[in-house]
């Protein structure tokens, strides 16, 4: 996630980004669900559908290797964690990540009335990102960040798809 991009946004720009995200992805959702249906996967918006959707998405995403960042310190770039993360999703895959992110957030908002979309808190690393609020201790849920991280772990680090269930349950526990 490009944290610096969000950090540089004004509050109005961040609100505009959130609005665009919700508009574009809600419009794209039916097409994605239709696509999934055509491949035998029937999904309705809801937290129980998140894992099946991510399983479906993970079969679609593709990535290509990226070069190490020469500006980073050597102690960091020589770690296995860094080396295994040297890949980037292609453009089409990023769209799937984006749609997975929307599905994630919208599923929670649909099922739990106390949750709602908002712009991330200025005082945290999630500042100006689309987030969902209403969790305990004012912790905010960043669906774009979550979708990207989980799909990267499954795709690039061979994590089991069950990490999606773990994350969903962890967020439900915070409500």
């Amino acid at each position: 996630m490009d944290f610096e991009f969000f950090a540089q946004l004004s509050r109005d720009e961040a609100e505009s980004f959130l609005k665009d995200f919700l508009t574009a992805e809600s419009e794209a959702m039916e097409g994605m669900l239709k696509h999934a249906r055509a491949e035998g996967l029937r999904l309705t918006l809801g937290v129980n559908s998140i894992r099946p959707l991510f399983e479906w998405i993970i079969k679609k995403v593709q990535s290509s290797p990226i070069k190490p960042d020469a500006t980073l310190p050597r102690w960091l770039t020589t770690s296995e964690s860094y080396e295994r993360g040297l890949f980037a999703f292609d453009e089409a895959s990023k769209i799937f990540v984006l749609r997975g992110a929307y599905f994630w957030g919208a599923s929670f908002v649909k099922e739990y009335p106390q949750l709602s979309w908002k712009v991330g808190d200025d005082e945290t690393a999630l500042q100006n990102m689309p987030v969902v609020e209403g969790f305990c201790k004012n912790v905010e849920m960043p669906p774009m960040l979550i979708a990207e991280n989980l799909l990267r772990r499954i795709h690039g680090r061979n994590a089991p798809v069950e990490i999606v269930d773990t994350a969903v349950e962890a967020w439900i526990a915070k409500i």
Binding site: A24, S81, K94, V97, A147, E148
Partner: protein, 189 residues
């Protein structure tokens, strides 16, 4: 002909690739690219030749109406979309999706956990790198809390993973705890 839409981004290497493709082939780019303010200045001669438009549309657009103009020096970002494309739909999503992935940074602000804020030393490709410079760092209650905060952030998907670095040694107990919690580490010589 393409429209350059003021949006966001910072990868000059990707921009250079586009730059060459345009000059050599004069064909449409295969996807969105980004430019820094310096790279935008490289584009100016082509602007004069009418090869490009720079769109200074603010994020979010204005009801789908594209505005054309030249980008001022220092404009932060460009993304390329086909001329005539609206702000939403596939290309709009492409613009939104370009905020995914990032080379790395030192976040100035913390991630929030149910046990309070977690300040990350470096965040690179989703991995939170924690640097410990103390001598034989032990598993204190403070360190234990940091570990549990990392675990929470990983489990909830807020970070992709965590990796701790020790520059003057670490106690075996601490290393065992990191392993148990699924956190990578390196004890640097």
């Amino acid at each position: 002909m393409h429209v350059l839409q003021a949006a966001y981004g910072s990868s000059s290497s990707q921009w250079s690739e586009f730059y060459r493709q345009e000059v050599i082939y004069g064909d449409k780019p295969p996807g969105p690219y980004f430019a820094t303010g310096e790279d935008i200045r490289k584009l100016e001669p082509y602007l004069e030749q009418g090869m490009f438009f720079l769109m200074t549309l603010p994020l979010g657009g204005e009801g789908g109406v594209l505005k054309f103009g030249t980008a001022a020096k220092g404009t932060r970002v460009l993304a390329i979309v086909p001329k005539g494309a609206g702000p939403l739909g596939q290309w709009g999503e492409t613009r939104l999706a370009n905020v995914l992935e990032n080379a790395g940074l030192k976040p100035a602000k913390p991630f929030m956990t149910t046990d309070g804020p977690r300040y990350v030393d470096r965040l690179v490709n989703g991995i939170a790198h924690e640097a410990k410079a103390g001598v034989d760092v032990g598993l204190t209650s403070s360190i234990q809390r940091q570990i549990l905060k990392d675990v929470e952030l990983i489990e909830t998907g807020v970070i992709e993973g965590a990796h701790w670095h020790f520059f003057q040694g670490a106690d075996a107990e601490l290393l065992q705890e990191l392993t148990k919690r699924g956190i990578g580490y390196t004890v640097h010589p």
